[in-house]
Amino acid sequence: MDEARVRMTRQSLPDAAGLMIEREPYYQPLRGEVALFEAAWRNQMPVLLKGPTGCGKTRFIEYMAWRLARPLVTVSCHDDLTAADLVGRYLITARETAWSDGPMARAVRLGAILYLDEIVEARKDTTVVIHPLADDRRTLFVDKRGEVLKAPPEFMLAISYNPGYQSVLKELKQSTRQRFVAIDFDFPPAETEAGIVARESGIDAAASGRLVKLAHMTRNLKGNGLDEGASTRLLVHAAKLIVQGVEPRAACDAAIALALTDEPEMLAAVHELVSAVF
């Protein structure tokens, strides 16, 4: 996209106050996911980001919103999230009932990027509104108002999904997933990850290398007693604590070991790994 157009779109969205990403978020591209996302956006295709928690999916979306100069509406899905929460509802004011757009309706009107984080956490009835928006209809039915919103070409729907969950209730249905272009995320190669941790936290290269090594050790334990290994996000947390002057082992215990497990023996083992590395 050329610079002039970017500037123009940035200015032409008065309603998008607070939704524009003003400063470039730090994101380290790994495999061409940026080009893929851009291509999907240009072709008005929705995107599914797949990958373990804390590996950079949300950061990637922020980066892409900045890059494409679109407002970003993020919804963290939870198990009480209903279709009405997404689309909107009537609120009662002093004299009348007033319609209030939900994040989805707002994103469609603005031509924003709508990011539904951890989509499987949401109620099943949300698929009713997601499906027509995710296929070539690109429409949102606001049934309470009898309104049909047609998404502008700039609008994009992105959802994220962590395939590692072991719950049959949290599997993404085929009918949903087959509407999306999938981008697979995983933890970056060790060197890159160390660079990311250093860059995000300001920690020195040696320490970030050790943190990444620790992360790999915990990822070795995935399926051997841990549900997930330490994510890049946890490493950044630990690194920030260390930069603040917290003793490295205490920082790793607090930000990594305790975050990963409650099981005493596993906790002890992760603690020993921490003290082996530092």
């Binding site: 209903t82 009405a84 509802r89 009537y90 009662i92 002093a94 009932t97 109620r123 395939p163 590692g164 969950y165 072991q166 719950s167 049959v168 209730l169 599997e171 190669p189 060790a190 060197e191 290398g209 990444v212 090594k213 790999h216 050790m217 915990t218 070795n220 334990l221 399926g223 051997n224 007693g225 082992r249 023996e265 596993m266 002890a268 083992a269 992760v270 020993e272 790994l273 921490v274 003290s275 082996a276 590395v277 530092f278």
Partner: protein, 704 residues
């Protein structure tokens, strides 16, 4: 007898009274030359509590051995003074144990060695035993590198590169933390021997004598410690804390070479030759025994296994790729995998593996990554020939040896249901290949379930509570601050209130809370012969706890077992049908679950899929409890055929809208379960004893 009256007051007994009691208790070992007079006088000077304690235990001991009781009486006052009453009791009990085991002579000696007992008691306070640390250290070693190692207890620490053997207890230090540190460093060094090539040379090159091997172990520990210093500085600090005495001067000249980054076991052997003839291995707590012959054997076996597995994995990858291409692009030459492995600079432990097969880049499957890592650990490189597709892509090829004929007496039953079976070689079903009969489990011991419930009383209570929290209800909540619809009643009320001057109420919505658990669950229990013994006990107990929990939850469930022998005698056993209530009868059938024959899994799953699919439910779940891979002793079911047939049966289930999950205790399950169930659809329970609790836990996680 008058002693009972006197025992009630608090004045010490006098010597005559005590002597009378001694005569009564240990008279058999007294004589004119050996009287109880001196003893009694000594005891008469003690406080009443000590006297009573002594007489009490003399009476007890005398029942096994009057002589031991007499010996005890002679040293008791001193022991009580040194150890206190509780300590003295322990000391005596230990002597009685020795008596039971080794007889009077050793027991008396043990009583007399009071100083030894005190020393030991002090050490006991800080002692750490193997079972306390085994699981933590197993996780620890698995974390250090992806290839998990087993841990077992032995008299001295050593490793065969698959299993790390650790001492039964460590009592060298006074404090627990120090003894634990000794365990940890010992385990880490043994792990490092396997990881960093201590056993990578030809068997002939290792010293043949015990002192030589001990010296080599010490030199290797110096070499590996230097690696720790570079890669795991914290662990290295711990190791140095334990290095008592310090490295002796005759080691000094060789230390530098061993600490070099490129040092290998060959350098240690070289250093061994340069040591003076009188050099002795130091007494470092973390040193184990080197067993090169056994380690090399295990290593060679593993390398061969890994090689074969990798080659067939390559063949499989390629077959899949071809199938995806519709078989059109079959290259003429043999499939060749190119592997790019990058190491993190300065750190040999983190690998970045990428594959290229027939010119196409692909992400390695977890199985392939693990194999490549394992081979690299053993060989330090990936030999070219390992990457050539070989074999038919079988999972295991050693499973040959089917019996030539059917065991006599096994004939096809007169009637039964016919099921197809998937033949992966033909990529086609074999029509009506299996004959399956459904039977009831014979009721078992009616005491089993009540006993299990008592045994797991606390856990059952806990399970019921935690499952109660999951129980779903469908409710319309009125007067909510937010919701799907306007609550008209509340709105009208609020409006009137507002008109009369009150503030506008906020709770004006109707919210529907839907936590409906519309679920039907089928538990499938492996009743194959291999579950014999306590695995079967644990399976049955697991079912009891699960049933208790599910009764609270109200989920519909059924329990079926399966077994069979040959395709003509496949059997599915009813334990609890969906429409049956959980009660005495079902409990007895749970108790009656027995290990039977083989694990022909596919046909059983097909049959049970049919039953489950007929249930009206929003979520249908089939959970298999198993101890190994599918197996039957004839018709070539073993190995890949069985795995592929089961996989196919699970795919059919999936098409019928059934979620499948497998709970297994097979440590090797990671080799084949991902293929059958998918990466996230199984769990391996390492510790069979925890199966009963784990199954309920897994169920809760699966369905919440």
């Amino acid at each position: 007898m008058n002693s009972s009256a006197r025992f009630s007051d608090n004045a010490p007994l006098d010597a005559a009274e005590i002597e009378e009691r001694f005569e009564e208790l240990v008279g058999a070992v007294l004589s004119s030359r050996r009287t109880a007079t001196a003893l009694s006088q000594e005891l008469a000077r003690q406080p009443r509590a000590v006297q009573e304690f002594t007489l009490h235990w003399v009476a007890i001991t005398a029942r096994s051995s009057p002589e031991l009781a007499y010996q005890f009486a002679t040293v008791a006052p001193g022991a009580i003074g040194a150890l206190g009453v509780a300590g003295a009791e322990k000391w005596l009990l230990e002597a009685m144990d020795v008596f039971d085991r080794e007889g009077l002579y050793r027991a008396a000696a043990s009583l007399k060695d009071l100083a030894g007992f005190i020393r030991q008691a002090r050490a006991q306070a800080g002692a750490v035993a193997f079972p306390e640390v085994a699981r933590v250290l197993e996780h620890f070693l698995a974390g250090l590198s992806g290839r998990p190692m087993k841990l077992e207890a032995d008299d001295v620490p050593w490793t065969d590169t698959d299993t790390v053997y650790l001492p039964r207890r460590i009592t060298r230090y006074g404090r627990r933390e120090e003894n634990f540190r000794a365990y940890k460093v010992t385990a880490a060094l043994l792990w490092a021997q396997a990881r960093h090539g201590t056993f990578s040379l030809d068997a002939k090159r290792y010293p043949g004598t015990a002192p030589g091997l001990a010296l080599l172990a010490a030199l290797e520990s110096i070499r590996l410690a230097a690696r720790f210093e570079r890669e795991l500085p914290g662990l290295h600090r711990d190791l140095e804390l334990l290095r008592q005495p310090a490295i002796e001067s005759h080691f000094e000249p060789v230390v530098k070479a061993l600490r070099s980054e490129s040092a290998g076991v060959a350098d240690s052997l070289l250093a061994l030759q340069r040591l003076p003839a009188d050099a002795r291995a130091p007494d470092w707590v973390f040193l184990g025994r080197l067993e090169p012959q056994r380690a090399l054997g295990v290593r060679a076996e593993r390398i061969a296994r890994d090689r074969q597995a990798l080659q067939s994995a390559v063949a499989r990858l390629r077959a899949e790729m071809r199938a995806a291409d519709g078989g059109a692009t079959a290259p003429a030459e043999a499939a060749r995998l190119r592997v790019a492995v990058r190491e993190m600079p300065g750190d040999a432990q983190q690998l970045d593996i990428s594959l290229e097969l027939d010119g196409r880049t692909m992400a390695p499957t977890p199985e392939v990554s693990a194999l490549i890592e394992s081979i690299l650990q053993d060989l330090g490189e990936l030999p070219e020939e390992y990457l050539v597709a070989a074999g038919d892509g079988a999972y295991r090829t050693e499973n040959a040896g089917e019996p030539a004929e059917l065991v006599p007496g096994i004939e096809a039953p007169a009637e039964g249901l016919l099921y197809d079976e998937w033949d992966f070689r033909r990529r086609h079903y074999r029509k009506d290949w299996c004959v399956l009969a459904e039977r009831d489990v014979q009721p078992g011991d009616s005491r089993f379930v009540p006993a299990a419930l008592i045994r797991y009383r606390a856990e059952v209570w806990h399970l019921r509570r935690s499952f109660e929290a999951l129980r779903g209800e469908d409710r319309r909540l009125r007067g909510e601050p937010w919701g799907d619809e306007v609550d008209l009643d509340a709105a009208v009320r609020a409006l009137t209130e507002m008109r009369s001057g009150a503030e506008l109420a906020e709770r004006l919505f109707v919210r529907r809370e839907r936590k409906l658990r519309d679920m039907a669950v089928m538990f499938v229990v492996d009743m194959s012969g291999s579950t014999k013994g306590w695995i079967n006990d644990c399976e049955r107990e697991a079912l009891v706890l699960l049933a208790e929990a599910l009764e609270v939850l109200g989920d519909r469930y059924a329990i079926y077992g399966f077994s069979g022998i040959t395709r003509k005698r496949c059997e599915v056993y009813r334990v609890k049908r969906f429409d049956e209530r959980y009660g005495g009868e079902v409990q007895q059938r749970i108790a009656g679950i027995q290990p039977l024959d083989y694990t022909r899994m596919g046909v059983a799953l097909r049959h049970l899929t049919g039953i489950l699919a007929a249930q009206e439910a929003r979520t249908r779940l089939m959970i298999t409890l198993s101890d190994g891979k599918p197996d039957d002793f004839s018709d070539g079911y073993r190995g890949e055929y069985g795995i592929e047939d089961t996989r196919q049966a699970l795919l059919e289930a999936k098409r019928a809208g059934i979620h499948s999950f497998c709970i297994t205790i097979d440590r090797e399950a990671r080799d084949y379960l991902p293929r059958m169930y998918g990466a996230a659809h199984y769990t391996v329970i390492e510790d069979v004893a925890r199966l009963p609790l784990k199954v309920a836990e897994v169920y809760r996680r699966l369905t919440s």
